[in-house]
Amino acid sequence: MVTKAELFLNILLELERSNPDILTSAIVTLDGLTMASTAKDTPSKDTFAAYSAAAYKRADESMEELSGEKVDILVFGSKNHRVFSIIVGNYALLIALTGKDGEIGNNISELRKAAGKIEELLI
């Protein structure tokens, strides 16, 4: 018998193995609490979760205002990094910090597959 926490972590580790461009990944609630994370440092793990959830929430509000729809995927980038946030069900987010080398389409495809597996576990 394995706990959901272990299964979530396995999905994240598998995702990172399949795509070396992904540096860190996490599953967080929309409240910004960490469900699973591959980040090593505990405070940074929780800050990553809180800020990612807050960024998603703001983007979701903007999207709702502009198009009346919910945000499915949020991608934002800096000079060397990108952050991908994908909604999983109604309650959680899959977040990934990547480098700039990988293709965006490929990253999204990998993340969508992982999000599908996480959603199955959440039901």
Binding site: V2, G32, L33, T34, P43, S44, A53, L121
Partner: protein
Amino acid sequence: MFFRGIKFIGAIIYIYGIIICYFMSDLLELYGLEENIGFHVILSNLFWWMSVILMIIAYRYRKFWNVGYTPWSFLFFGFLFFGIRELGHLCTSPVINSLRHIFGIWSAIFMTSAFIFFFIVIYMRKKPYLFSTYMPVAFASMFPIFMFYMYFIEANTVYINNIMNIMESLVWMIGSSVTIYTTFKMGTRVSGGFVNVFMFFQFSAYTAFMWKFLGLLETMGWPVPYSIREVVEMLFGIFAIISIYLLTKMLRKLSRDMHGNKS
């Protein structure tokens, strides 16, 4: 199962509280007991001890909101000391009242420190220095030393009580001002349920400031109706219990989601 048990205990405490308050109000009319042993004292004790119970439940789930061990402990002690302070209302002795103010000061120091640590971790994204975790304890320990010093120099007990009362008012006013700032800033960095948690903590801080400000005015000789102060204090308790309830609810939901087994 555990939470159902807590709800059951809460309901029993509430019902007993109402029965006690009913008889208390009769006693007040019959014997004209002092204003500080009344319905509001029972209610305030119920609110704060319920908050302490909720805080204990939230503390069990602290690993889900991993902001560090120290802020969690300080928040817990903030609630616990305020609960003890409220118990002190049941006695009219000036010595017990002075001790009550000490617990009030400790509660203010630990609650304020907890929010400063949350602010450092969440808003500033830094780790608090080790020595900064000892500072609130060192500051808090100065007040009982001062109180015992006053007893040793044989100061009047009523005078000591008044001094401790003024000190408590000042510490709460400064502490709640800091908490208003920290909770406001953290509210801009979090999302979902945490926005509500910090909002209600901020409301608590506003009412705590107002409650102690009115108390200080009264100590200085301004006529402030006792009932107004007590209503404000009651609001302080209600907002605190709501905020800690929201935090506990969020952590329990996550715990339920995380501890489900899949074979």
